[in-house]
């Protein structure tokens, strides 16, 4: 379960978000939407304890982000997939799984599940993971990062742009795993610009705009005003339906 209490974060004079309060219940997935630079990644970093909030705090499975003594416990309950790869470039994919297993103190069974089930499920050619991560494509890095985030079976999953760089088939598999994760009663927060994919996995939507949530609620409420797709609702909400007409004449 994720609970945020009046979370605020600034960088210098720039306010990224202020006084955000929300709860993500177990068994639900929050789709976090917003324009580039809206503060989605920053919010994920605050929730995962990587950076501190200026005001307020969040609780992950009861552990507070503003309590340094609890940070280690908090991190151990989170499966984080950062937007950019945090893989060690000199490790192979399989070594990376071993390494992550050591970091999260995974059991042999968990490591085996990752290497023998998750990797073959997401990688068409698992032998590719014998190569060092430095040569991986963006998609491979994403898939491996997703596996690493899941392998210790965390109670809370924080995914930053999990679908970018993935092909449609793999995206569908990722959605399947996320729905399975949700069905197991765990909590997830997915920040993404792929609205179609987000719609297939999120139970709730939150739209971050100019430091505030301009929408927060169930996915059915998000699309209730006649809009059939998430992107239509988002455009209406952010008032940027005229963007095509405002494009400068280049050609």
């Amino acid at each position: 379960m994720i609970t945020a209490h009046n979370l605020s974060r600034r960088f210098g004079n720039k306010t990224i978000f202020s006084e955000l309060s929300f709860t993500v219940e177990p068994g639900s997935t929050l789709g976090l939407l917003g324009n580039n630079g809206a503060g989605k990644s920053t919010l994920i970093h605050v929730l995962s304890g990587l950076i501190s909030s200026n005001e307020g705090y969040a609780e992950i499975e009861g552990y507070r982000t503003d309590n340094p003594a609890q940070l280690r416990l908090l991190k151990s309950h989170i499966g984080l997939m950062p937007e950019f790869s945090s893989l060690n470039p000199d490790l192979s994919g399989y070594e990376q799984v071993q390494f992550s297993g050591l970091l999260y103190q995974c059991s042999e069974a968990q490591i085996r599940k990752a290497t023998e089930e998750l990797i073959p499920y997401l990688f068409e050619n698992p032998d590719d993971l014998q190569m060092r991560c430095r040569v991986y494509s963006t998609g491979m890095k994403k898939k491996l990062s997703f596996i690493l985030a899941l392998m210790h079976q965390p109670e809370v999953l924080l995914l930053d742009e999990p679908f970018s760089g993935l092909d449609p088939r793999t995206s569908r598999k990722v959605i399947g795993l996320l729905n399975q994760y949700k069905a197991s009663g765990r909590t997830a927060l997915v920040s993404s610009h792929h609205l179609g994919y987000t719609g297939q996995t999120a139970t709730h939507i939150a739209v971050l705009h100019e430091g505030k949530f301009v929408f927060e609620g169930g996915i059915s409420a998000f699309t209730r005003d006649g809009a059939t797709q998430l992107d239509e609702s988002l455009h209406q909400l952010l008032g940027d339906s005229q963007s095509d007409e405002q494009a400068p004449s280049l050609f």
């Binding site: 995962s48 304890g49 990587l50 499975e61 009861g62 280690r72 416990l73 908090l74 991190k75 151990s76 309950h77 989170i78 984080l80 950062p82 945090s86 060690n88 470039p89 000199d90 490790l91 070594e95 071993q98 390494f99 050591l102 970091l103 999260y104 103190q105 995974c106 060092r132 430095r134 210790h152 109670e155």
Partner: protein, 493 residues
């Protein structure tokens, strides 16, 4: 709330397992390297080669000592050269800025994280090589004098500092930079310095005046600095792709993000392409610019310090190492721009490509000429017994190596884009090509110095080994091209 006790408390056994994993992984990297097998092979044999080289150089210079010359500065000079060259190759022992092996989101305590990161950084190949190198030099010092050890140690630390500085400068964003502003401005100033030094050197040699009296040593120093600066700035990445698509050339500058289409058959096209290629060849790679400048500064300062110790030794100390260094710095293939050709092109395309490469060779040779010129004066001014063989060796080696790079660039098309069927010539920025260049240079030097010491058999063995390794590397490159052979053949039929 879940009970976290099963996997969140600090467990010494887990910490030890983690440290063991990191240590094992890093030590494996020292042995096998982070790259391909063949590149790793080169990396492994590189250290013994440099040490053999130092040893051979020492013996050779001891001979010079018999004729009344001090050996230590020469040995230090050779080692200095070796060190700089190896640093620029990227595989030499050097301390690097520590990196975090443990992701920030990992649930580890601060002590465990610090310990794991410390182990990781201490066992990085550069550091391990550094310890090996310094230890070996320490063993050699009783024979060649402690100056050898001290200069190696000082240089090891200085070069590490240089690495740190370059990294910090490159990663630091100027606070005032706005979006889209380049991180480092165009290097007009260093070019100007290079030209001023060149003029000063020439003036001092040919037009003595009260301000700049004739002094071959100083002239050589000026010319050398100028050559280093200019050649350093002309380093490898040309930032230009020349694509010869059907009916037209496409000149794509990665820096300027501009594309120019030029009709293939027009008279203007070849002139424009040549101008563009030379212009872009003379463009600098930012990292190399900074490194080149800092190496230069370091050498000048260290030279000044040594001047106090050895007088005329200064010039030799500076010049001897720098000539080959400069050639490593401007590795032989690096001068050649990537040239992409469409298979649909006619015979003209190949000829034009050939001409572009030929013209690209000229600036490289010109810069080398300046360096060689400086070397000759430097050596002559340092003492009356000029090591003619060494000078001759440099003169022979330089065009030969350039020629090898030149030919290889033309005959080794390496990249095919299936969609547009382009073949890329040239090995600009290619990891393997750089390594081959470095290896080739070191092997050449080792062979010459070993042979000069009378170890003809040893020199022969090294030459044979070098040939085999080079052939293997080329073979590996060729096998990579297997799938592209049809296209290659179609183009060159």
């Amino acid at each position: 709330m879940q009970n976290p006790s099963s996997h969140t408390s600090s467990n010494p056994r887990h910490t030890l397992n983690l440290l063991y994993f990191l240590a094992k992984h890093k030590l494996q990297l020292v042995l096998t390297g982070p790259r391909t097998t063949l590149a790793n092979l080169g990396r492994i044999i590189l250290l013994p080669i440099i040490l053999m080289y130092a040893y051979g150089a020492g013996l050779f210079l001891n001979r010079l000592t018999d004729s009344g010359l001090p050996a230590e500065p020469y040995i230090a000079g050779f080692l200095l050269f070796s060190t700089i060259a190896m640093v620029s190759s990227g595989v030499f022992p050097t301390l690097k800025l520590p990196v975090d092996a443990i992701p920030v989101f990992a649930p580890l305590g601060p002590e465990e994280t610090a310990l794991a990161n410390g182990i990781f950084n201490l066992l990085r190949p550069g550091f391990v090589y550094g310890v090996l190198f310094i230890t070996t030099v320490a063993f050699m010092s009783p024979v060649f004098g402690w100056l050898l050890f001290v200069s190696c140690l000082v240089f090891f630390m200085a070069i590490s500092l240089l690495e740190f500085t370059a990294k910090i400068i490159l990663t630091k964003k100027p606070s005032s930079a706005s979006a889209g502003e380049p991180l480092v401005r165009k290097p007009v100033f260093p070019y100007a310095i290079g030209l001023v030094l060149l003029i000063l050197g020439l003036l001092q040699l040919f037009y003595p005046n009260p301000l700049l009296p004739v002094d071959p040593s100083a002239a050589a120093l000026f010319l050398f600095c100028s050559g280093l600066l200019l050649s350093g700035y002309a380093y490898r990445n040309t930032n230009l792709d020349l694509q010869l698509t059907s009916g037209s050339y496409k000149a794509i500058s990665r820096n300027e993000k501009s594309t120019r289409n030029i009709a293939e058959e027009s008279q203007e096209s070849l002139r424009l392409l040549l101008r563009l290629s030379i212009k872009h060849i003379l463009r600098a790679n930012i990292y190399r610019q900074l490194c080149g400048l800092m190496v230069l500064m370091y050498l000048i300062f260290s030279g000044l310090i040594l001047y106090g110790m050895g007088g005329k030794v200064l010039v030799t100390f500076l010049i001897l190492p720098i000539i080959p260094y400069s050639h490593v710095f401007n590795n032989f293939w690096g001068f050649f721009p990537a040239l992409k050709m469409n298979t649909a092109n006619g015979a003209n395309s190949f000829m034009n490509g050939f001409l572009i490469y030929t013209f690209s060779l000229l600036p490289a040779l010109l810069l080398n000429f300046i360096l060689c010129f400086a070397a000759v004066f430097g050596l002559q001014s340092a003492h009356s017994h000029s090591p003619f063989l060494l000078i001759l060796f440099f003169f022979v080696l330089i065009p030969m190596n350039h020629l090898i790079g030149y030919i290889s660039s033309i005959i080794l098309p390496i990249k095919v884009s299936q969609d547009v069927k382009l073949v890329e010539f040239g090995r600009t920025g290619s990891f393997t090509s750089q390594r081959i260049s470095y290896l080739q240079l070191f092997l050449n030097l080792t062979i010459v110095i070993t042979a000069l010491n009378g170890f003809i058999v040893t020199a022969g063995i090294i030459l044979l080994t070098a040939t085999i390794i080079t052939a293997l590397i080329f073979f590996a490159q060729r096998s990579k091209l297997h799938a592209e052979q049809d296209l290659h053949m179609a183009l060159f039929k």
